[in-house]
Symmetry: C2
Subunit: 225 residues, 2 copies
């Protein structure tokens, strides 16, 4: 399957980062189009992006649909699973084809994707802070900590440097951006030595270097922490 792929992305969005990791891991060519979530009130609200994604979200992947029509996929897990199915001969995002190993990979993935990240997204932070008047950062820290504790408790008993053992997987694609966010929220990561060791092993992998926020065309070294 050879087709043009365009990723609408923001350098610091953790879910965009996951999708970049899956794309680089599979070695699939793609074009990045940055969508700046903050500048000018947020480029995701401009007509051009709303036409691609009525929810005004990134990441959104533009792919080839039926009869040459363009189609758009959003939600990072849906995009990563699509890449796996559309490029079955490229390196897998799972450690093996065994259904139980895939299930345990998806379980770790969802602990971050649905169990952690939604409780620290920009909309929730802005609402809690600006409309409800509470300490949104404390709220986020609480749920990032719970999420990382859950991830740690769920890691399978395997040998190898990555979450699922010897092979990098979709679980690592979710863990590494989540650890980056944990630091932004100033969470104490000392209790998470095993997760930090996994992160270090990932940082040696080429796909992780290419997908890092600092390596993106829209990286902003002067952005507030």
């Amino acid at each position: 399957m050879s087709q043009e792929l365009t990723l609408y992305s923001y350098w610091r969005s953790s879910s965009s980062w996951r999708v970049r990791l899956a794309l680089h891991h599979k070695g699939v060519d793609f074009t990045t189009v940055p969508v700046h979530l903050v500048r000018d009130g947020g480029e995701q609200h401009k007509d051009a992006h709303v036409a691609r994604n009525p929810l005004r979200q990134i990441p959104t992947l533009e792919v080839q649909g039926k009869e040459g029509k363009r189609a758009y996929i959003s939600q990072s897990v849906a995009i990563m699973e699509w890449l796996e199915e559309a490029y079955p001969d490229a390196p897998s995002i799972f450690p093996s084809a065994d259904p139980l190993q895939k299930a345990l990979t998806r379980q770790l993935t969802e602990i971050i994707n649905s169990g952690t990240q939604p409780l620290q997204n920009l909309n929730v932070i802005q609402y809690l802070r600006d409309d409800v008047g509470v300490d949104a950062k404390a709220f986020c820290r609480r749920y990032i900590q719970k999420g990382l504790e859950a991830y740690l408790a769920t890691l399978p008993d395997v040998s190898g440097p990555f979450s699922m053992g010897e092979h990098v997987s979709m679980a690592d694609f979710c863990l590494v951006p989540q650890l980056y966010n944990a630091r932004r929220f100033k969470l104490d990561l000392e209790p998470f030595a095993r997760l930090l060791a996994i992160e270090s092993a990932c940082q040696e992998v080429e796909a992780f270097k290419k997908a890092h926020p600092d390596a993106q065309p829209d990286f902003d070294a002067n952005a507030p922490a």
Copy 2:
């Protein structure tokens, strides 16, 4: 593949409900073991359940692992995807084998699973209400409404009574429990006529009758709304 499956479940948990729907849709035999989330401070905290799931969560599916050992899968999406792979000849949880149709199904699934449900779970409600002292129900209503708006805006332009057209899918397994929760939080559902029509179509399907909270062994007609 023939094996004994045990679902640890709570009648009113929306993520347990999704998994019951997938099990009944695929026609897979399973045993339900209720785990009462409220009684006695929560049965999920008892040693017997913590041994199955260190995160003290339901749903958890007990399956056969390697060499006859029992294995446990949690996270509703991971369980549903496992069922699809472990029982490939049973009715599919996707509308077709086309990767793009599967991606759009997973996109709708994640709008509920990661975009909506995490912002109304029991732990978040208790924390916002008891520790932060804010109106947790208003918070939940806000994000259920946003989630249902997103689902509606993302529905593909297809004919047929269900979310993905002519075939029931994993997306419907997430939507129907979410609408039930929306009513518990007293959200005005009038703007969501198309979603209510999908729900009505689902309610005619045998799997939806069997998986309904009212049909579970631990259903409690006297539980507070």
